[in-house]
Symmetry: C2
Subunit: 263 residues, 2 copies
């Protein structure tokens, strides 16, 4: 488990107003250098400049870009230098499969783990949030109820366990697919994060910041689902889901899965 | 409480394929005449023809249109004749406020109630489903988490009690607003119905038919919500919601709110 701080952001975090979430990322860093990992993007141009502007007056002294075009580069000693003295790494959005396929089980991934283990901040937005879990959600219909068979999952970076993270949550109508994901194995807690909203995970506690909500889908007490018996394309049936809608300041204990209201 | 059968449809029910839902409407009628109430629409043209085609070979011998342009017409003896010998009434979609404002507390509404009390079928799709509850959901954001203050409700026809019905549910990303509605008073069960999906309510039991899912949001065990304390526009916080996702064949007992899986 991480000693440091994980910050999973639901995408479209505010970059030119209050910047509540980016401010939190900057404040949590015990140092001046933040690595901006644009690995998730096929075309990383522009990301660095946008975040450089956004972070400019928030206390991040140096922002260093990390891009991995082809997997072998993730073992490149020259590339790995960006982590020297870094206090945090921020994964931008794009495709979570690019993150896992390009840096999974490489020295870059090891550097990210090391940073986290040593008390650093690992933040990620959109695809950068999805990739944090052991098993990550890759693809599934938006604005639809879950249909048996209609979901693609893959091994994620496993920075947090027993959790599946989804993003752009309310905005893209993703409750159906998150319920479907949890039905596969209720061991995992489903965490759906709205845009401009984030969860800060540290020491087994998850706290919400930002302007939207975070949906925690707990299937531990499920009395029934048709995920294994249902025919392909059949609509999901799933009884006795516990759902918590959390907003800014609310917390959830990951071990007990009990929520606590903002004080 | 109704002696007859209520059929609440989430909109866009199949009209030229299997027609599972319309077939059920036809089969439940103990007679040949169905009144098609197009009251919800500002421009009812075309509805009658579409449903006449859809119902043509399903056993409905006579389809009679009921339209109320202005409220006084809802007391018109001539209009009321459509109910003579009718076994069912089907409310088409549009604006639920048109239904409640045009026929609420009028002889037309009385005729609908009488039909139901005498064992008839009252079906409604989209707006025609929403209007069935005591308090109905009129307007609220789609594809957004519920924000304090952002919901318009109004008195419905009250054909079913202790329930709020929402429609086009997964397709329009409406879990946020339904949760918000339930947070106002957990006495009501939130029922979100997907397109081409319906609930059949009779003798205190609700059964699902059609191709999608029905979401039952039960707030009876809520441990916290910020609905009364939160500032306007603040995201909803709501802990310990019980959620059931029901699909074809699944049932829910309205008194105990316990689901039962399709056999």
């Amino acid at each position: 488990m991480a000693e440091g701080v994980l910050i999973a952001i639901g995408g479209h975090e505010d970059k030119d107003g209050e910047r509540t979430i980016l401010k939190e990322v900057a404040q949590r860093m015990r140092g001046d250098v933040l690595v901006l990992a644009t690995v998730a993007s096929h075309e990383p141009e522009g990301y660095f400049e946008a975040y450089e502007r956004a972070f400019s007056d928030l206390g991040v002294k140096e922002l260093r870009e990390l891009y991995v075009q082809e997997r072998p580069e993730a073992a490149d000693a020259e590339k790995l230098k960006v982590f020297e003295g870094a206090a945090g790494v921020f994964f931008t959005g794009g495709d979570q499969l690019r993150i896992s396929s390009q840096i999974g089980d490489t020295p870059v991934e090891a550097a990210v783990r090391k940073l986290l283990a040593e008390g650093g901040v690992v933040a990620g937005t959109s695809a950068g949030a999805s990739m944090m879990s052991d098993t990550m959600l890759v693809r599934g219909a938006n604005q639809e109820s879950y249909r048996i068979g209609d979901l693609h999952m893959a091994p994620g970076l496993g920075l947090v366990r027993d959790m599946i993270i989804d993003q752009h949550f309310a905005e893209r109508g993703r409750i159906g697919r998150l319920l479907g994901a949890v039905a596969h194995n209720p061991r995992v807690l489903g965490v759906g994060i709205d845009e401009d909203t984030a969860v800060i995970i540290e020491r087994g506690l998850m706290r919400v910041i930002g302007s939207g909500a975070v949906y925690c889908v707990d299937g531990a007490s499920l009395s029934h689902s048709n995920i294994a018996e249902g025919k392909t394309e059949q609509a999901l049936s799933m009884h006795d889901v516990a759902l918590h809608v959390l907003s800014a300041g609310d917390e959830l204990c990951l071990q007990t899965r009990r929520p606590r209201a903002a004080s």
